[in-house]
């Protein structure tokens, strides 16, 4: 798409009206804050931040955490798409491998052995949530992540899951399993066979 650049008028080219305008806008705000005692913190909240926690609005992109389904199982299947898409490479997944732990729910076959998010690298862009085919990772409402060391800021699977809570969505693997059980011809085994 090509946007035509508008020809500037003399006033615009002189820049001075813009300066005057700028002064009036900034003065208006300055006046409001200094002389009328109004400011953003007062008008949107009951006080200032550390004493009064900030109210998180819907759609806020806070720290990404892993979620469990309504039965308490790990939703992540270690497809590593979030690791791939993560722009600052904050996510690091260790896949289970052939000998790793099987998924903690029937029929899903796979879950990550380790899932780490380096919260120091994370830019809270939400691409991981967007790309996740399993609805297993969500940007939640935590906005104040602190730690005393770098290592502490790398959240592991256990921590991410405990912080993430439950997300009751479609249970597609359970659905598949139920469907398969209903079909008598091929009774399916719950777990991958031993190697």
């Amino acid at each position: 798409m090509i946007v035509e650049r508008k020809e500037l008028s003399l006033a615009e080219r002189l820049y001075l009206p813009a300066v005057v305008n700028g002064f009036s806008v900034t003065w208006r705000h300055f006046k409001r804050t200094v002389f009328e005692g109004r400011n953003a913190a007062k008008e949107t909240s009951d006080g200032y931040y550390p004493e009064v926690p900030w109210k998180v609005e819907r759609g806020y992109r806070g720290a990404p955490y892993l979620v469990r389904d309504q039965e308490g199982s790990t939703k992540c299947v270690s497809c590593q798409l979030c690791e791939f898409v993560c722009p600052p490479k904050a996510i690091r997944i260790t896949p289970p491998g052939p000998d790793g732990p099987p998924a903690d729910r029937d029929n899903a076959e796979k879950m990550p052995k380790e899932f780490e998010i380096n919260m120091l690298r994370c830019i809270f862009c939400g691409l991981c949530q967007e790309v996740c085919p399993e609805e297993a990772i969500f940007l939640q409402k935590d906005y104040s992540l602190t730690g005393l060391s770098r290592a502490e800021m790398i959240y592991n699977k256990e921590k991410l899951l405990s912080l993430g809570g439950t997300h009751a969505g479609t249970q597609k693997w359970r659905h598949k399993l139920d469907e398969a059980r209903a079909q008598e011809a091929f009774p399916i085994e719950n777990r991958p066979a031993a190697h």
């Binding site: 398969a180 091929f186 031993a194």
Partner: protein
């Protein structure tokens, strides 16, 4: 029809006679006959013609090295042939060009009738329309049909990222399905054999695996059982799919039905870096692709080379990579000589003691697993010291397919550099007795455990100097006075010369562990130090110039250059 006489079959050259056809309206002359899966000349198919024209025709069951089955229907294309008049003469348009009769259903002349490109030979004047709307519709319909019972479990499927079903669905498919009934569920995670896992739901029944194991390996273990929607790939009851080539079916499988137990859930393929390399497990020297991520090798897969391994490799070679990442790899220089445990110090110490050694009092055992360049440098060192040299033979059984009886990847290289004689290992006894009677005071060992071949620990204890370079610790490395940690083939560049005398180059995929260095690099430094050069004034190492110098000096390699080796290698006159 088990095995063709030579494996892999050498494809015949396409016939010189050409046919003129049109692909998407573009005229092109293609050979009339082209090699089939056994390398024999057969009439050129539409698919081969399209490939020659640079037009990709999607296909699942077709594979250039397998018999044509024509069951996936993915390669359906619309086509036309010159129209014939009642007088058996071509009908001509007003402008003089031949009139083309598009292929249509016999009783429904408005409906195009496609043909499977993989099994339909071309005829003179034929026109193929791989991009026509009718062809596109056929592809959409075929994909929709293939996906009816597909579980769409890409997030847990190992094939995701290299799955033809994914690729073609994106490229040629449609996003919706008209199928609303529950999908037919089939067995998942079936233990097909010791190295293969089967997921029947994902299977699209292309039968590539069946044809491969039946027609190429001659181990007829797989088949399709049940009928209709319940069609299922299975091993014959009571048998396991277990031969030395089973993992090729994982490569062949266009979807994620057959997966390797070794690679299962290891790493998503889109993270892996591909490096061209050569298998080191026998003298065949199968061309491989080495898949690595962040310094860790995750798998080997065969790389096409009709002169060596076609598209295959054996399971044994394929799974022989774990040792590269072993924890106990030799990482640090060990030296009991003055100069310290640094590369400079150790090499200097070795050079000094070699310079002091009497000519003839030095012996050298170099493994035929070292690269040709390393063996060449060692042979130069041996010539200077007038040393006795030899390699250690490793004999096994040939299987008539890809596995060679010689399990060393580079015995040919050891022979032409003169490290090994006509019968490798013959001079080992001479070396052992030399050490025993004290004429040999210095032993240089590269990549072998000599205690296993008759030069035991008590003999090694008699030596004045024992210089060892190796990758993994063994009884010999423990006795070494100077131990120089070397690199696996994945960590350096170099060439192997296979049993047929083909010089094949492999490239570096991962970094060596710790302070290990490529042997060729430090050998060149050692040679320079031995010749009296000052450390720090030695020319920087260059693999290209080393190889080219070697090719000039070794008679069999004349005319070969590193830059011209390419991925396929070059035959040497040996």
């Amino acid at each position: 029809m088990a095995n063709p006489p030579s494996f892999p079959p050498v494809p015949a050259a396409p016939s010189a006679e050409t046919l003129s056809i049109k692909v998407d309206g573009r005229s092109i002359a293609v050979p009339k006959m082209m090699p089939d899966w056994q390398g024999r000349l057969q009439p050129t198919t539409m698919l081969q013609a399209c490939q020659a024209a640079g037009v990709e025709v999607p296909h699942y069951c077709y594979h250039s090295k397998l018999p044509v089955a024509g069951n996936c229907r993915m390669c359906l294309v619309e086509f036309g042939t010159p129209m014939m008049g009642p007088d058996r003469k071509p009908v001509v348009e007003a402008d003089g060009t031949p009139k083309i009769a598009r292929s249509v259903l016999p009783y429904e002349p408005g409906t195009p009738r496609g043909a499977i490109a993989c099994a339909t030979p071309i005829s003179p004047g034929m026109e193929i329309y791989p991009s026509s709307p009718a062809t596109k519709q056929m592809r959409e319909a075929v994909l929709e049909s293939l996906l009816i019972n597909h579980p769409l479990d890409c997030p847990i499927c190992d094939q995701a990222g290299e799955c033809k079903l994914q690729e073609y669905s994106v490229e040629h498919g449609q996003s919706s399905s008209q199928f609303v009934e529950p999908k037919v569920h089939k067995p998942k995670a079936v233990d097909l054999g010791p190295r293969i896992m089967l997921d029947d739901e994902r299977c699209i029944l292309c039968t590539r695996c069946i044809r491969f194991t039946k027609d190429l390996v001659g181990d007829d273990k797989l088949g399709i059982v049940n009928r209709g929607s319940y069609n299922t790939i299975a091993a014959f009851p009571g048998t396991r799919f277990d031969n030395n080539y089973t993992l090729n079916t994982v490569d062949l499988c266009p979807v994620g039905a057959l997966t390797s137990k070794d690679f299962r859930f290891q790493m998503r393929v889109w993270f892996l870096k591909e490096t061209s390399s050569v298998c080191t497990s026998c003298a065949t020297g199968c061309n491989i692709t080495l898949w690595s991520r962040e310094g860790r090798i995750h798998r080997y897969t065969p790389r096409d080379n009709d002169a060596v391994n076609a598209s295959w490799m054996c399971d044994q070679g394929r799974l022989n990579y774990r040792w590269i990442g072993r924890e106990d790899r030799l990482r640090e220089v060990v030296s009991q000589r003055p100069g310290g445990r640094t590369w400079n110090g150790a090499l200097k110490a070795v050079a000094t003691s070699l310079a002091a050694a009497k000519p003839g009092s030095v012996a050298l055992v170099a493994s035929a697993r070292q690269t040709t360049e390393e063996l060449f440098l060692l042979s130069q060192l041996a010539a200077r010291l007038n040393a006795v040299t030899d390699s250690v033979p490793r004999q096994g059984e040939a299987d008539g397919l890809l596995v060679n009886a010689d399990r060393n990847p580079n015995m040919t290289g050891a022979r032409i550099t003169g490290i090994a004689g006509e019968t490798p290992g013959a001079r080992l006894k001479e070396i052992a007795s030399g050490i025993a009677n004290g004429t040999i005071r210095t032993l240089i060992v590269f990549g072998e455990d000599v205690t296993r071949v008759g030069i035991g620990a008590e003999l090694l204890g008699k030596l004045e100097t024992l210089v060892v370079s190796d990758i993994l610790p063994n009884a010999t490395t423990k006795m070494a006075h100077v131990l120089l940690p070397g690199c696996a083939h994945a960590e350096k560049r170099g060439t192997f010369i296979n049993a047929k005398g083909r010089v094949q180059r492999f490239l570096k995929a991962v970094e060596p562990p710790g302070n290990a260095r490529p042997e060729a690099e430090f050998l060149e430094e050692l040679l320079a130090l031995h010749a009296g050069a000052e450390a720090g004034h030695i020319r920087a190492f260059s693999m290209e110039s080393l190889f080219n110098r070697m090719a000039r000096e070794l008679p069999g390699l004349s005319g070969i250059e590193w830059a011209k080796l390419g991925d396929g290698g070059a035959p040497a006159a040996v």
